[in-house]
Symmetry: C2
Subunit: 545 residues, 2 copies
């Protein structure tokens, strides 16, 4: 507590006055804040903590195991053991009692999904993945590709007895070119590891998200992860230059180009970006990485209403322009939750209904600070924001980011969370949170009273990408709450031409709701592709489209 | 000539001395240099100038008309006239003598390709395109989608009697959101028109290329155009947020999302980006446009060798970082050609084997100039570049860009040009030009003597994207020269894991060479997609894969 207080005092010292005076610029050579979501896949912890997780088959009683899938036999296990060799490559719950070892692969960190698999395979290279899939396809054994298992929609968790194919042992950096900035790496490289490797070479992985300490870059590509700095560095559809992947029948899609421009036929690799393991397994990635910014600054503001927040965003976009690297929205409730969980004192003295975090990343600290000053003078002077602080060193930088990054963890302390990760045109973005809160309150579901299922309805997210995280924190998951929110929330988004899944994908959670964003023709065309690449339907069944 | 001299004198006045002294920054609100390639589709000019263009069927005698395609009848023409209504929507060479009117749609600006079509259709919206394609598919009438017809690989020109479906009448801006920067527009909007519309709203189309005065944004998307500033704004795979397109059977793919993040199923629109009209016709585009830079600067340098040029690029990337918007390479010969064509005096006093053009675009003129100064001091001081000039006003800005943009036109004056638009890892990028020149010289094909078929072998391009334009300027197109270059050039690129087509696509010119960049599996998978979306093969036949 005392260190938190000290920090808070330090922050207050640099409170930005109405008549803003420039202070020294913050120079960070390696801006990398600690990851919040790190997950242990060791047996003890996982097994102990998963006891109370409901099986997905119970939560979704209408799901039936596809009878055309074979069941895993001892011969299958023997085949995989012979093929993969290393003991660590096969976790065999078929012929041995390995339930504890398997459990972490059978469930998710949100404790919402739990499968019945008895076999986990960890191939080490594309050839092994190809042989595994070829065998599974011929035998009609269903599989679930799994990276760091950090998803939010149950996409990487088996439902029945699908074999988990985990990318954890494919973890080599293959090459990096310092002139072009192109990195080629195995799919199972952890995002933070890749970024640290690049940091040593003055480059940056063009993706950053809370789960970076656990998630795999192959999983990032397979789910088209967006994260904190898409605003600045763009989407994986633009940055991924090449892919190596394996189709259901074992066909190796070798398209690991390192060229930024390559117009020779359909850009097939794009189909894997965001396909959530339903047409193949990504085994290697070639990605364009920008030079690491030499200066990074972060500021935190209190804002009186949503209209002013959108004005602040417009000003940031116009004035910070090429150095703006994040514009994050947090509502007052999320900050109260972080405060309650961490015990940290608030960065600002008063409390506000909205907060935003503005980050800049540039190549010249002095220039960036001058741009920030002009921006601060403008938004403070015009009364667009009510109060703010600017980080003065790396500790403060980390501390401010914790008020944004700590939200997920703070919500976890409350029990469960219904998470909706959606895109909505900016003018209406936060209205969804208000409307949802009002709806659930009117239905008598929200309250401080322990008997009420809903603890709070909060909103935060990547405002610069029109991406809202609507979170309904519950004391326990109940059908009553779920039915009060769904499909109401999806209809609300559909009316505004938004997307029911901005960056977290469809998985199992949103499978049945795709029609609220995609029309019938699009879904039909998608199913056609699925049938083309996976005619037996063995890849990540029961999910996606 | 006198104005050119004055300009040149002005340029010399701002020559950057070894001890560089900052001068006033250049502020351009609307950086837009005149397009070099504008094409008239009016009858007279086109018909007169196309007389000597060889029919593609003569140039490619092995191509046979697909006998499963129907021939256009009077009934077909009547159907289309009834459907499209407007007289300008159908150019009918079937029942009337409209050869002169049709000719511009039958041939390309490079005068390399010429088709035999007798019918040009210009539908005005997606419904009309859908009805046209549905009819053609049922009747097995082959079609060629055509935008501004500015391509370099014969992709938009019929070979036999394929019906041309031109997007020219679909030319409306549908919407623009000033906060998000998302533009939605018809496919037939001319790139420069779109950019001017955005300029008035302080935004920028994230694509710029020489043909901007004629090319259509739908064609840009269908060919995945790269252009001058991909280095800064990224590829269309990242910037296109949504598409509206029509498949061969008339199915409307309505995927015009304006959301930056939308992870709801396979990103099907990506298949259309770079598909060159072989699976469908793009009718509408939703695209993310950045704020228009408030300051744009351009500098031009003479460099003594290629190794120093790569060092200059590395320095530009590191020091100019987020404001670097173009790094263009021009070899000495290209600049001689521009000089000969325009009569303009060289920007620099001495002659150098290499030149580069460095452009910055940022939001603060003073900061940009300071970064440029530091960069100039460094590369001049270290002797990385030998001499340079920095534009001081918009006239000089345009003038410097003309030394890069004028290359295509200068080459056109010499006769024909074999154009190879390729990606090669940076260290080897220019070696291809040297090797090609040596090869053709040793074969006795190059010389000032009019009897030699090859006038010169030159190289230029987007160095920041590892994208080289190898151009072999010939007095006439001959099989002898073609055979001396191809497939040698493709094998050379294959050995270095480059791409045989960086940004100009495959079309007819590179169809048979795809195997030098894509392996057999990839080509097989692409053909599978083509069969899926266009089972009758009516979409842009004889080309692409």
């Amino acid at each position: 507590m005392s260190s938190a207080r000290n920090l808070s005092t330090a922050l207050r010292r640099v409170r930005i006055p109405r008549s803003y005076n420039p202070t020294r610029p913050l120079i960070l050579n390696l801006p990398s804040f600690t990851s919040k979501r790190t997950f242990s896949h060791t047996s003890g912890v996982g097994a102990a903590s998963t006891k109370e997780i409901k099986y997905t088959t119970n939560a979704y009683p209408n799901l039936n195991r596809n009878p055309s899938f074979a069941e895993i036999t001892e011969e299958d296990v023997k085949f995989f053991k012979d093929l993969l060799g290393a003991q660590s490559a096969v976790i065999d719950g078929v012929t041995t009692d390995a339930a504890d070892d398997i459990e972490p692969f059978n469930s998710d960190w949100m404790r919402k999904y739990r499968g019945h698999t008895t076999l986990v395979l960890k191939p080490q290279n594309v050839d092994e993945v190809s042989k595994v899939l070829k065998y599974c396809n011929e035998r009609k054994l269903a599989v679930v590709p799994q990276g760091g298992n950090t998803g939010l929609v149950g996409g990487s968790i088996p439902v029945f007895d699908e074999i988990v194919i985990n990318t954890g042992r494919m973890n080599k950096i293959r090459s990096f070119d310092e002139t072009s900035g192109v990195l080629v790496a195995d799919a199972g490289v952890i995002l933070e590891v890749a970024d640290q490797y690049l940091a040593e070479r003055e480059h940056l992985f063009p993706l950053d998200l809370g789960a970076k300490g656990s998630c795999h870059i192959g999983g990032n590509v397979a789910t088209n992860a967006g994260g904190l700095r898409l605003l600045r560095y763009g989407s994986l559809h633009g940055n991924v230059l090449g892919l190596e992947a394996v189709l259901a029948d074992g066909t190796v899609v070798d398209s690991l180009s390192t060229m930024r421009k390559n117009n020779t036929g359909y850009d097939l690799k794009q189909l894997f970006v965001g396909s959530e393991g339903t047409i193949g397994i990504v085994t290697g990635v070639s990605i364009l990485c920008p030079p690491r910014p030499k200066a990074v600054n972060v500021a935190y503001f209190g804002v009186e209403n949503y209209e002013k927040l959108t004005r602040a965003y417009k000003e940031a976009k116009g004035q910070l322009s090429e150095i703006l690297s994040a514009f994050e929205l947090m509502d007052g409730r999320t900050q109260q939750l972080v405060h309650q969980t961490t015990g940290n004192r608030y960065p600002l003295e008063g409390e506000y209904p909205f907060y935003c975090l503005v980050e800049t990343s540039g190549s010249n600290a002095e220039h960036d600070m001058a741009k920030l000053e002009a921006f601060l003078e403008n938004i403070m002077g015009e009364g667009i924001v009510a109060d703010g602080v600017l980080a003065q060193d790396e500790t403060q930088f980390q501390s401010i980011w914790r008020w944004r990054e700590g939200i997920t963890e703070a919500l976890n302390h409350l029990g469960g969370t219904y998470k909706y990760d959606v895109s909505i045109p900016l003018p209406d973005l936060y209205q969804l949170v208000e409307d949802c809160r009002e709806r659930l309150t009117q239905m008598g579901l929200v309250g401080d009273d322990e008997s009420k299922p809903v603890h709070s309805v909060v909103g935060y997210g990547h405002m610069g990408d029109s991406n809202l995280h609507l979170n309904v924190a519950v004391r326990q998951y109940t059908k009553e709450v779920e039915k009060a929110i769904e499909p109401w929330v999806y209809k609300w988004i559909q009316k505004r031409y938004g997307s029911i899944s901005a960056e977290h994908g469809l998985g199992l959670a949103k499978k049945e709701f795709i029609g609220y964003t995609q029309n019938e023709t699009m879904v039909k065309l998608m199913k056609q592709l699925k049938d083309l690449y996976d005619p037996n339907g063995i890849m990540n069944p029961y999910k996606y489209i």
